[in-house]
Each structure stands twice: as structure tokens, then as C-alpha cells.
């Protein structure tokens, strides 16, 4: 958004490379939609289009669009000297942001610990490791957040969030 503020880090991905990557991902998406649609008839039945017809052509639209975008990415001079899409610094910051987030999901869903434990682990990690806050402040804030969410969702809104063995042990079901 603000080009003048971009850090002058080493280029990791050029704009053109990123355009090509995204176009190829879109192409793969389109092809998988077409393959999925082909499980059903994709032509015209006695009473108009068969179930596979609409997804098939929507997949085709994605394929056509992504091939067009791919050609534009490779041929258009606009991307030749475009500013770097992602610098090494930015990639490091994004990874540092995404990893704890992924950890949140792994703890909450794969380890089946529930959302409350997941968010607690997540907040603790981020505040200690990235925010470099002191332990007392981190503990107070993280536990405060979890308790706040518990009261808002379970007690006030009556929307139960995913819970795990810890809540069962505490008798909070």
C-alpha cells in the first residue's frame, strides 16, 4: 500500500514470479474443478444442463482466466521492472506471523485441545516471543483474553466454542 515505506530488503520473489505462481495455482484450481465436475454428466440432458455442466464451465472460466493472466505475467512489460513483490525481510515477518497461527490450529484442532487452550497457547507465544513482553504482563493479558471470550461466548451469547479435555477436567462443560 505504501511503497515509500517498503524496507530495502533483499528481493525474495519478484512481482513477475509471484504473478506466475498465482496464475499457476489458479490454473491448478480450475483443472481440479473440471475434474471434479466430470464425475457427473457435463453436457445437456433432456431437460437442460446436467449437474456437472455449471461447475465444468466455471472451472473452464478459471482455466481461461488463469492462462490469460499467465500470458500477461510473462509478456506484459508492466511486470518487468515492477517493484519486488516480497523481500526477504517481509517473508521472515510473514512466516513469524503465520507459524504461531498454524500452531493455534494444530493445538486446538489436531491435538483436540479446543479453542480456548489453542488461543491461550497462541497469545502466550506471540506476546512472549514476538512482542517481547514480560511474563507477568503476558500471563495476565492472555488469561484475561481467554476468560473474556469464555464469558462472552459461553455465558452471554450461548454459543459454545470447541472445548477439549482441559475444560472437561475443570468441569466447565
Amino acid at each position: 500500500m505504501e511503497h515509500q515505506d517498503l524496507p530495502a530488503g533483499r528481493a525474495l520473489v519478484t512481482r513477475r514470479a509471484l504473478e506466475v505462481i498465482v496464475a499457476l495455482l489458479a490454473l491448478a484450481f480450475g483443472v481440479s474443478i473440471i475434474l471434479g465436475a466430470l464425475e457427473y454428466h457435463v453436457g445437456w440432458g433432456e431437460r437442460g444442463p446436467e449437474p456437472g455442466y455449471f461447475p465444468f464451465w466455471m472451472g473452464m472460466i478459471v482455466v481461461i482466466g488463469s492462462i490469460g493472466a499467465l500470458f500477461q505475467a510473462v509478456l506484459s512489460p508492466r511486470f518487468a521492472d515492477a517493484p519486488t513483490a516480497i523481500t526477504a525481510d517481509q517473508a521472515r515477518r510473514i512466516t513469524a506471523f503465520l507459524m504461531p497461527m498454524l500452531g493455534f490450529l494444530v493445538v486446538a484442532l489436531l491435538f483436540k485441545m479446543g479453542l480456548y487452550v489453542g488461543m491461550l497457547a497462541y497469545m502466550l507465544t506471540v506476546m512472549l516471543w514476538q512482542g517481547r513482553y514480560r511474563l507477568p504482563a503476558t500471563l495476565a493479558f492472555s488469561f484475561g483474553t481467554v476468560i473474556f471470550f469464555y464469558f462472552v461466548f459461553e455465558r452471554w451469547l450461548h454459543v459454545p466454542l470447541l472445548k477439549g479435555p482441559l475444560e472437561a477436567w475443570l468441569g466447565l462443560h
Partner: protein
């Protein structure tokens, strides 16, 4: 006069203590969402929808709509004070709003922004009030082919007028329609595109997609650069507000022009973001003080703000009358309507009179409420941005995931939200438009049904779409717009004038 009576009835619905309380709550939550980078209007509405399931539809829509107005105001606040647009549609406000704030005219800039935004919003509501009835009557003539034609036209508008690469718009819309087709087919009952995954049988919820695309995707993009909020402090004193109010009428040309641009872009699915850029571009072209633009010119604040808000409000018109949302946020709201069991479209005006007019009346009241609230709470909300991002960002992440969970209590949705977040980030980096994807996910089933029913009525002939003048005109217009990027190359001079402004303004 019918409209007037309906509107009066609507005011009776809107002006109850409970609904005014909902408006205040909605506006406050909206400003918060608008101020925080990474949380925007579409996302805020999405997060609230699962909580409205047990509410009366009128109350629910009043809450959601008020949140939308609040978010629009919140977005402009951070644009002016911090040079950080809280919403994509308030990017254009930073060009002159922030320079004004740096010159010590923050109060003036904020007052101009809020008051012209309110003008634009009220202009949009008046347009809705006048056009809603006739538009619905007109839409009563629609049958399946016409509906499909209108849906088709909406997407061709994105391709022809959207400003993004036409190929990228196609990818985005096609992805949305494909995702909408996942799960049970409404006509044949077959399970489509599930790839053997039981989680996909219930389909991919657009709410989860919005949380990922707009919430997490936006956050990743924000985290890319080390964020420092170096803002300008502001306290809005009533005297300054009145002074600005007195000066505002002298900008009447800009106000009316911008509101018209906004209405046009809101009713056609151009959306508030395109409207604010276009309006800024037009203002710079025609203003006698064109040289002052970018250096702190009030007209450069007034124009995008009025257009942004009039587009935001008038986007509700096609949603109510035709069932086609004019912006991403309106698309999410329309999805909410469908979840509450309402059928957006002309029948709403017959079956759900007090819903429609209650909403329209609430738009008058809520916008006035929003201006008052925002004027006096600016210092409070600006202070939120002084909280370190290392605390705010994880909180927003938690809110997004909890929101994704509340949609249907499915763990799979959380993974989906994460994947959509990555897609949203990549799309943002490479200028793929996200709005067509969301719109397609919301109206996908309706568009497919309309298409298949037209085919059934007309025994499989595409001639169905040219069987009468109304449908034929819509389809032809849609095709012209679809191939507009190609056609405009043959006639290079005219379209450059406006298109040339937007990208430059974006720098």
C-alpha cells in the same frame, strides 16, 4: 405517495428504543472494526451474522447495516490521522486528509470527512427511498432468464468496469461460482465437487471465505511491513465542527458530483472503493484548485468520502430490489438475509414490507447517529491504534478463528479460513479483485438455478436469453461489458481518461 407512507411505517419500526440501541451498538462496533487494520466492513458483518441467527430479521439487519456505516466512518478516521486506511475504500481519503492533519488541520479534515460522508450516505438513502418501489415493481416482471441476465450483467460489470485485469476478474468470479457449487446440488440432489471429503458435503460457507480473504489475508499483508502508527493527535471541538459545517455548502458541486458517482458505482457493482477513487480523480480534474490536490485540499477529502458513503448505502438498493448486492459487504448481508430465511428480491417488498422499510428508515437514523458518535469518540478510537500491534494482531486472529467456528461449529472451517487467508494475501499482492469471488459465492446457487430453469423452460436453447426485449437488452449489454476491455482497445481515446487516473491515484 405510496413510498412516503411506507417510509413512515418504516420509521415506526426503526425508532424503537431497542432498535436505536442496536444502531448505537452496531455503529460503535463498526467504528472499532473500521479503525483496526485487517478487520473491515465485510469481515465485521460476517463475524456478527452467526450471532444474529436468533434475532428478528429487522433487528438483525439494522444491527448489521449500522455496523457497516460505523466501519465506513472508522476507516476514514485512520486514513486522516495515521495515513493508514482502515478500509480499502478510504485509501483515497489519505491523499489529502493526512496532509491536512499534518498541517495541524486534523479537526477540520475529520469534520469535512464525516460531514461529507453523512451527506453522501443520506443522498444514497434518498435515492434508495425514491427508487426502491419502482425498481421492485419493475423486477416483478422478471422470470428466470431475466434473473440470470441480471446476474450475468453484474459480473460483466466487474470485468468491463472493475479496473483490474479482466483475466484476473474472470479467475476470481469463476472461483467463487465453483466454490458455491460445492456440496449438494439443489436441483438434482447430487453431491458435487466433494472429492470424497465428508466435510465438503455441506458446501463451503461464504462467511468462512470472507473471514479468511478479508480478515486473515488483510492481516498478513499488514504484518509484512513493520507497523508503526505515527499518528496525529486529534480532539474534535464542537466549535470547529460548526465552522466546517458552515464552510461545507461552498463545496456543493463536489458533494453532489461525488454522491452521484457513488450512487452509480453502488447500484452497479463497482463498489465503494472504485467510487472513491473515481470521485477523487474527477475532483482533481475539475477543481479550480487542482494544484493543491495531494497537499491538503478539503475537496480532496470531501469527494472520496461522499462517494464512498453514497456507494455504500446505495449498494443496498440492488440487493433489496433485485437480489444482487452492489458491494462485498452488501453481498455478505444478502447472504445473511438468505440464512434468516428471507428471499432478497422484489418479493421482499410485498412479503416483508416492514423489513424493507424498517431497514431503509434505519439508514436515515443510523447515519445521523453514526456521525454524532464518530465526532465525539474519535480520540477514543484513535487511542486504540496506540496499543502495540503485537497485542492487537493476535487478538484479531483469535476473533477471526472464533468467528469461523461460530459459522457452523466445524473444525474444518478453521482450516479453510486459514487457506482463504493465504489466498486473500496472494490475491492482494497480485491485484486479483476479491469482491467478485465473494459475490459469486453468495449468488452462485441462485444464478445456476436461474440458468437451469431458463433452460428447462426454453428446452435447452440459449435463445431463452433473447426471447424478449428486456432480457435481450440486459444480455447484450452484459456481453458488450464483458468484451469492453477488448473493444476499448479499438477505440483507445475515451476510456483512458478515467482509467488513467485510478492507478496513478493509487500510488
Amino acid at each position: 405517495m405510496d413510498n412516503f407512507n411506507d417510509l413512515m411505517h418504516g420509521f415506526q419500526v426503526a425508532l424503537t428504543g431497542y432498535h436505536i440501541m442496536l444502531m448505537v451498538a452496531g455503529v460503535l462496533f463498526g467504528i472499532l472494526v473500521g479503525v483496526l487494520p485487517g478487520l473491515g466492513a465485510p469481515n465485521g458483518v460476517t463475524l456478527l451474522i452467526p450471532l444474529t441467527f436468533s434475532m428478528d430479521p429487522v433487528s438483525a439487519i439494522i444491527l448489521l447495516a449500522s455496523m457497516y456505516w460505523g466501519a465506513l466512518f472508522g476507516g476514514s478516521t485512520t486514513s486522516i490521522l495515521f495515513n493508514i486506511p482502515g478500509e480499502p475504500s478510504s485509501v483515497a481519503t489519505t491523499f489529502d486528509g493526512h496532509p491536512m492533519a499534518k498541517q495541524g488541520r486534523a479537526t477540520e479534515a475529520l469534520s469535512y470527512a464525516f460531514l461529507s460522508a453523512a451527506f453522501g450516505a443520506l443522498f444514497g438513502v434518498v435515492v434508495i427511498t425514491l427508487l426502491a418501489g419502482p425498481a421492485a415493481t419493475f423486477a416483478h416482471k422478471f422470470s428466470s432468464p431475466e434473473y440470470f441476465a441480471v446476474y450475468f450483467l453484474a459480473f460483466c460489470c466487474f470485468v468491463g468496469l472493475g479496473g483490474a485485469s479482466p483475466f484476473k476478474t474472470l479467475v476470481s468470479a469463476g472461483m467463487g461460482f465453483s466454490l458455491a457449487a460445492v456440496g449438494m446440488d439443489t436441483i438434482s440432489g447430487s453431491l458435487r465437487l466433494t472429492y470424497g471429503l465428508p466435510e465438503l458435503v455441506k458446501g463451503v460457507s461464504f462467511l468462512v471465505a470472507v473471514i479468511g480473504l478479508f480478515g486473515i489475508g488483510e492481516l498478513i499483508a499488514t504484518m509484512e511491513d513493520r507497523l508503526e502508527f505515527r499518528g496525529v493527535r486529534a480532539r474534535v471541538s464542537p466549535r470547529d465542527v460548526f465552522k466546517t459545517m458552515a464552510a461545507l455548502p461552498s463545496y456543493w458541486v463536489a458533494l453532489i458530483r461525488s454522491s452521484l458517482v457513488g450512487c452509480w458505482m453502488g447500484i452497479t457493482p463497482g463498489g465503494p472503493t472504485a467510487a472513491s477513487f473515481m470521485s477523487y480523480g474527477l475532483a482533481r480534474r475539475f477543481s479550480p484548485r487542482a494544484d493543491n490536490f495531494g497537499k491538503g485540499e478539503p475537496e480532496g477529502v470531501i469527494s472520496p468520502e461522499a462517494a464512498d458513503h453514497s456507494a455504500g448505502t446505495s449498494a443496498m438498493l440492488p440487493m433489496l430490489a433485485l437480489g444482487i448486492p452492489g458491494s462485498a459487504t452488501a453481498a455478505v448481508m444478502m447472504g445473511g438475509l438468505m440464512i434468516w430465511g428471507l428471499h432478497p428480491g422484489p418479493m421482499l417488498f410485498v412479503d416483508q414490507k416492514s423489513f424493507v422499510w424498517g431497514l431503509i428508515a434505519s439508514m436515515y437514523v443510523a447515519n445521523v447517529v453514526a456521525v454524532l458518535i464518530v465526532l465525539f469518540t474519535v480520540p477514543l478510537f484513535a487511542a486504540i491504534l496506540r496499543i502495540p500491534f503485537a497485542i492487537i494482531a493476535p487478538l484479531i486472529v483469535v476473533v477471526c478463528f472464533v468467528g469461523a467456528w461460530t459459522v457452523s461449529s466445524s473444525p474444518f472451517d478453521l482450516w479453510l479460513a486459514f487457506v482463504f487467508g493465504l489466498i486473500g494475501y496472494l490475491f492482494k499482492k497480485t491485484d486479483y479483485p476479491i469482491a467478485p469471488l465473494v459475490l459469486a459465492m453468495v449468488i452462485g446457487d441462485k444464478a445456476e438455478d436461474a440458468f437451469r430453469q431458463s433452460m428447462i423452460i426454453h428446452s435447452g436453447s440459449l435463445g431463452a436469453f433473447w426471447s424478449n426485449w428486456l432480457c435481450g437488452t440486459l444480455m447484450t449489454l452484459a456481453l458488450v461489458l464483458l468484451f469492453w476491455p477488448l473493444l476499448s482497445r479499438l477505440v483507445p481515446h475515451r476510456s483512458k481518461a478515467i482509467a488513467g487516473d485510478a492507478p496513478r491515484a493509487r500510488e
